[in-house]
């Protein structure tokens, strides 16, 4: 459904998190290398706890995470050190990463901070072994085409990757990230996508960012008038970003409508939690049957609204369930969806009667251990009360398709304190002025089509490709740009589609092969076969130099055919098909091309073959 976003007062901003492709991590000297979890060399276990602020307060987001005392498991590798283990103080801030962050800042027209201070931002969901993420504000106030404003760029450490449940992998922890935060200056879902795409392009233009799934993540902040600021974390696909915004606007519109309806009905939240375990003694519902305690919350005036859809696949009841899950329960039951799940109409009627629930009232059930159920019932009441007020400020996570689920309250600004183990870094004018601005990928695409003769689409594809550095190198080594671009974009992709392990191909060999084509050592037509052969034999023992491997590949796949060899082959082919040649005349050229090319296994340029064939056919016909 499309809304009138201007009328709704949509305001959106984004935070883009991009991993940097530096040699070392941000606060230790480990490589920024991701590993397979199967390669882990050990595991250890930790608990995290919220710490009190000066005023005896615990940050609300941290407190929420603490409802469950969770034991976190960490996978360690031979490529991580005691810093990631939170067993050694951090090393000084990585200067290479700072340089990249400053480059991006300069490209966005920002003002650097005189002296950069590293902070600790509390994160106790287990994704940081220390319980905080180190982050530093590097520059302020940038501009974007279209008039949007960049507020800040920060340099921070990447968190652990979740393996499953409460198990995390330490390989990703500490990879440098830049976080770019815009002002809430976007007013339509498409604006958000345009801005995200532009910033992504600027980031890639540095040539120093990681590429691939999960290396860039967008958090989207969305609010509408009378709504609330909601942060949606971790949108990885750019194409979904507008949909996420549309669905969040929809959610807020629906929740406001529910609020209005609740108020019109004079709805309220009953503060008593009723133990109804006994009512379900004979139940057929597997979940209720095995629960130690079943508690019920009565929500006067909520009937029909708990089950009302607020986003595709999501209801107000889903929001209540998200809150309840913080206590470790699997979910909730509510009367808008009952009878179902093995709960009979009779049981529902008995439940309603027992709670003296009127027709307009909803009842929510939680089934778990007594302690968990008590906690969950409390959470359901909290969320129900919020529904009467409107929309809570929240951090949410994206679900498949673009709907979202509650994660935790928005953290307060009060969750940061100084990282005293890392000295501040002063950014002098020498450092700042010495930063050279890389060419934007959009300008580079224009240059490729203008100067290198690539057509516009290929030029743009090449500029934005991960293989851009290899392309530039290949061209610098004397290979024609179109040949280089078509090989790197077209041929490699086709080979990959056919299951050739092109990821194993060393850049050196690709460059040398294309040079061999340019120098006439082998034919353009042989490129796919040669690349397949090189990929297939990559990593074979005994080791050969790239030059030796190219020579061996040409020898086995497309041995050199001399002019004399070619003439002999052409002579034989034509002779064997003399009748066909007489029938078709010069029309035989096309069909015989294929035959000869197969014989020479693509090692002779097509034009040479064509010329030799033409000559031979003319001779026979004369």
């Amino acid at each position: 459904m499309e809304y009138d976003y201007a009328a709704l007062g949509l305001k959106a901003g984004i935070e883009i998190h991009q991993q940097l492709n530096t040699a070392e991590k941000l606060f230790c000297r480990c490589p920024t290398l991701l590993r397979e979890t199967a390669e882990h060399t050990g595991e250890f276990f930790r608990y995290l706890r919220a710490t009190e602020s000066e005023l005896g307060e615990i940050d609300r987001a941290a407190k929420e995470e603490m409802k469950l005392v969770r034991k976190f498991c960490y996978y360690t590798y031979d490529t991580v050190c005691l810093v990631e283990h939170d067993e050694e103080p951090p090393a000084p801030l990585n200067r290479e990463a700072l340089g990249v962050a400053l480059t991006i800042a300069k490209m966005l027209g920002m003002t650097p901070i005189d002296q950069v201070h590293t902070m600790r931002k509390l994160v106790i969901d287990g994704s940081n072994t220390s319980g905080f993420q180190r982050t530093a504000l590097v520059a302020l106030n940038g501009t974007l085409p279209g008039g949007c404003r960049i507020e800040t760029i920060c340099l921070e450490e990447e968190a652990c990757q979740r393996v499953e449940g409460d198990a995390f992998s330490l390989d990703r922890l500490g990879i440098p990230l830049v976080e770019i935060t815009t002002a809430p200056c976007m007013h339509t879902p498409e604006d958000v996508r345009t801005v995200a795409r532009h910033i992504g392009m600027v980031l890639r233009s540095t040539g120093k960012v990681k590429r691939g799934l999960g290396t860039i993540r967008q958090d989207v902040n969305v609010s509408i008038r009378d709504g609330a600021r909601v942060e949606i974390k971790g949108v990885q696909e750019l194409d979904l970003i507008a949909e996420v915004v549309r669905r969040e606007v929809g959610r807020q519109v629906e929740l406001l409508a529910i609020r209005d309806e609740l108020r019109a009905r004079g709805a309220s939240v009953d503060t008593t939690v009723t133990d109804v375990t006994g009512l379900f003694a004979e139940t057929k519902s597997a979940i209720l049957k095995k629960a130690k305690a079943i508690l019920a919350v009565r929500l006067p005036g909520f009937a029909g609204l708990v089950g009302r859809e607020i986003q595709p696949g999501r209801r107000l009841g889903s929001e209540m369930a998200d809150y309840a899950k913080k206590c470790g329960v699997g979910g909730i039951f509510h009367t808008d969806e009952l009878p179902a799940y093995g709960v009979t109409a009779e049981e529902v009627a008995r439940l309603r009667e027992h709670l003296r629930a009127a027709e307009q009232d909803a009842v929510v059930l939680v089934a778990a251990s007594r302690k968990q159920a008590g906690c969950a019932a409390e959470q359901v009441m909290i969320r129900a009360r919020i529904a009467l007020d409107g929309i809570p400020e929240e951090t949410r996570k994206m679900l498949e398709g673009g709907s979202t689920a509650y994660m935790r309250p928005l953290p307060g600004a009060a969750r940061m304190y100084p990282e005293t183990d890392v000295f501040p870094v002063t950014i002098g004018s020498d450092l700042w002025e010495g930063i050279e601005l890389p060419e934007l990928l959009t300008s580079r695409a224009e240059r490729f089509s203008r100067d290198l003769g690539l057509d516009d689409a290929l030029a743009r594809q090449m500029a934005f490709s991960e293989r851009l550095p290899l392309f530039e190198r290949t061209v610098a080594e004397g290979v024609r740009p179109t040949l280089a671009a078509r090989t790197l974009l077209g041929t490699l992709r086709e080979l990959a589609r056919d299951g050739v392990p092109v990821g194993h191909l060393p850049d050196d060999e690709v460059v040398l092969l294309l040079q061999a084509v340019e120098s006439g050592r082998t034919a353009k037509e042989a490129i796919p076969d040669l690349l397949s052969e090189l990929a297939r034999t990559a990593g074979e023992q005994p080791r050969k130099s790239p030059e030796e491997r190219i020579a061996a590949a040409i020898e086995s796949v497309a041995p050199t055919v001399t002019a004399g060899d070619l003439d002999a082959i052409v002579g034989r082919v034509v002779e064997e098909r003399e009748e066909f040649v007489r029938q078709r005349g010069m029309g035989a050229l096309g069909p015989l091309m294929g035959v000869v090319m197969k014989e020479v296994r693509g090692s002779v340029d097509g034009q040479l073959v064509s010329r030799a064939l033409k000559r031979e056919i003319e001779r026979r016909l004369s």
Binding site: Y47, T51, E52, E54, G56, Y417, P424, T426
Partner: protein
Amino acid sequence: MTGTYITDRDGMAVVKLDTGYNIGISPAEVQFVERPAPRAAATPVVIQNPDLPELSIISTGGTIASRVDYRTGAVTSQFSASDILRAIPELGDLAIYRSRQLASILSENMRPSIWQELARSIHAEIESGVDGVIVTHGTDTMAYSAAAVSFMVRSPVPIVFVGSQRSADRPSSDNAMNALCSAAVATGDLGEVAVVMHASTSDDRCAVHRATKVRKMHTSRRDAFASLGTAPVGYVDYPSLEVTLSPEAVRRGTHELELADELEERCGLLHFVPGMPPAILDAYEGYAGLVLSGTGLGHVRTEWIPRLSDLIAGGTTVVMTSQCLHGRVCDRVYDTGRDLLAIGVIEGEDMLPEAALVKLMWVLAREDDPARIRDLMQTSLRGEICRGSR
């Protein structure tokens, strides 16, 4: 852009922006807007359960609780029993607490006179009837202090030293688990001085180390503390807090309460290195005791022997330990060793160099007869010497 001015650093004004980030900016660019009103700290009262055992927490400056001011970023240490209980509420399930702040120093600044004050405080607390004592201590010198206290105080109840390798302001700190495990030990069946710290990098159990056999063996890891030459005298599982003591652990009530707080402070510990000139020993002229941390089985270079002989003749007791840390000194195998024995150097058996130092301080404060000193130094008084090596 507004924020709170925090301090001055390297000529820059450090300002905490409203977003929580600190930045350093040139003071010329800072414009004063207003002075924030001081905010009153909330001090919720913690109610303790009088049916539980009573423990005394004596703080020397090591923090098991601290609090962060997210506005300024300052971290402040918490010492009162209610502060500690607010930070680690689960402690309230184990005992009721009284607390005493003896000192507020970094443990690298620890000195023998504070060990004596500590011993007297511990003695007074036990005399007043507490069921156990917890000493919070910085980790750098905790093993020295614990060993010193174990010589000075004989106790029927547990005396447990505890600290944290990660500062208490971080959510990952080892403070809470160490504190809870130490309270479990302090209310348990132990009857000696111990150090209770993480047994591994995981938050799964703490080791109970005998005070005279423990050493900090890593600069930063949680499991930096290790028992050397012997196994820990117990373990505490976490989070169950179940304490398992080994048969060697001294049990509650084994000893009567006793205080012997004299120490001879003029004692030194010297780590011998190749080429170290004998003139180094001049610095120990007039010392009552010197522990040598020698090489291998207990050696120093041959050129030291005449100078050492003079020191001993001048009344300095010299005890040999080994920088190998693991193993027993034996000066009867090689010539150098036999020469050392001949001039009167005392073999320190398998004592850790640091434990030998504090023991020597304690012994020399009580004895001046050389034979009696030698005898005491070679007798295990607090488990500092094992009969057999394992």
